[in-house]
Symmetry: C2
Subunit: 241 residues, 2 copies
């Protein structure tokens, strides 16, 4: 399956997505933002109901310049977005804890991408069916065609949300300790504690009949591999690159 | 350092924090919610500016029933909270990808905690100084006293936010595949791909003078340990338990 390529390399910079602090860590380039989105399985979607903000964790996926997520048709968040609503979808990765010679220079290594747009429900039956297939195949290449098809009731109970990305920005810190020059000789330990999200040994369900093997397509989810690398690889497969 | 213990075991259930979907996965108990908060280094704070929601990743810490975070005094998010504002702070952990016999039963294992309250700036000098020490010591036990003290300018440039938790809920899925009974015999592979966030080999800054050893107190951040376990252990130390 192939998807449209993006026409512009970067998103426009507006008051909404401008990286105000530590702007040297910021980027508006799709080439920086999209791998951060694609390397994450969980995002946080922010939306407002009666003035109250919510930050809700959910699974997201991306096709071109559009982000998708889904949930129960009865969920508070999704009912709210039915008529189209401003939303912010953020994906963040923690890569390390940074310990400096003073409290002020303690930091974290991270990658985060924040996307803004208007979220709408995908109602049209063919588009909804395609999105629900994509939700499986984007993470598990080729899997959807091997499954028991979703029933009409299951499809009805699921709501799919699409949000074309109007604006976005990324913020990345990926370096060592940022001590002040005058602190360098202090006899205080400083360094980085790296952190990464890794895949464990796959656990086959006890109900799977004998002789049904783990699909070869799950090879990217090898024990010890980072989740980042597996999700970037499956996104590339999904995009047909 | 010891902190007040919480008087009530559970938060009240209101329309704001009620777990509406998959309510069997929900909890309002501090004993469930606080370990989810404490086991995370990054949270997402949601707030509203002129009707636009933002989901901003940041570092949080907890003392009793109060959540804290910090940032630059010039940041958009923190300026907005200066006068007190409704906020939602969510911490989420991904524990596994769950592959079922149909798309509908695909899922994820996760732990998330969502907290609601009014966020306010910690302005009073002694309280702010205590919070900035806590920000270091909560993660790195005893470290603050070993550091070059923060300058007046550094303290001024940092804003600390406190949010007493008015309402909160947790949602946890921690089990195997939830296939329908009638799907059990299908010759389709199903299972769980576990995921965990682990600590790598500590990297000492090249500027640290010879003879300055890695502090013993960082032993909880041993290579291969989960970040969860390290953060829960340091929180217990911080609470003086």
């Amino acid at each position: 399956m192939t998807h449209p390529t993006t026409a512009e390399a970067a998103f426009p910079v507006t008051p909404r997505n401008k990286v105000k602090r530590m702007h040297e860590r910021g980027s508006y380039d799709r080439a920086v933002i999209y791998p951060i989105l694609d390397a994450g399985f969980l995002c946080h979607v922010s939306y407002v109901i009666d003035g109250q903000p919510f930050a809700t964790p959910t699974i997201h996926w991306r096709e071109g310049d559009t982000l998708y997520w889904h949930g129960s048709s009865a969920s508070r968040m999704l009912r709210h977005l039915k008529d189209g609503a401003s939303a912010c979808l953020t994906v963040s990765h923690l890569d390390g804890l940074v310990l400096a010679r003073c409290g002020f220079n303690h930091s974290a290594n991270y990658r985060s991408a924040m996307c803004f747009g208007t979220a709408r429900i995908v109602d049209e039956p063919a588009a909804k069916a395609a999105a629900l297939s994509a939700l499986v195949d984007r993470f598990f290449p080729g899997r959807d065609a091997t499954l028991r098809p979703m029933s009409a009731q299951e499809i009805k109970a699921t709501t799919v949300i699409a949000m074309p990305i109007d604006e976005a920005s990324a913020k990345v810190r990926a370096k060592g300790v940022g001590d002040d020059a005058e602190d360098m000789d202090l006899p205080i330990w400083a360094g980085v504690i790296p952190v990464r999200t890794v895949i464990g040994a796959i656990e086959t369900s006890p109900h799977v009949p004998a002789g049904v093997a783990t699909p070869d397509s799950l090879g990217v989810y090898a024990q010890g591999a980072t989740l980042d690398s597996a999700l970037l690889a499956t996104q590339r497969l999904y995009e047909g690159e």
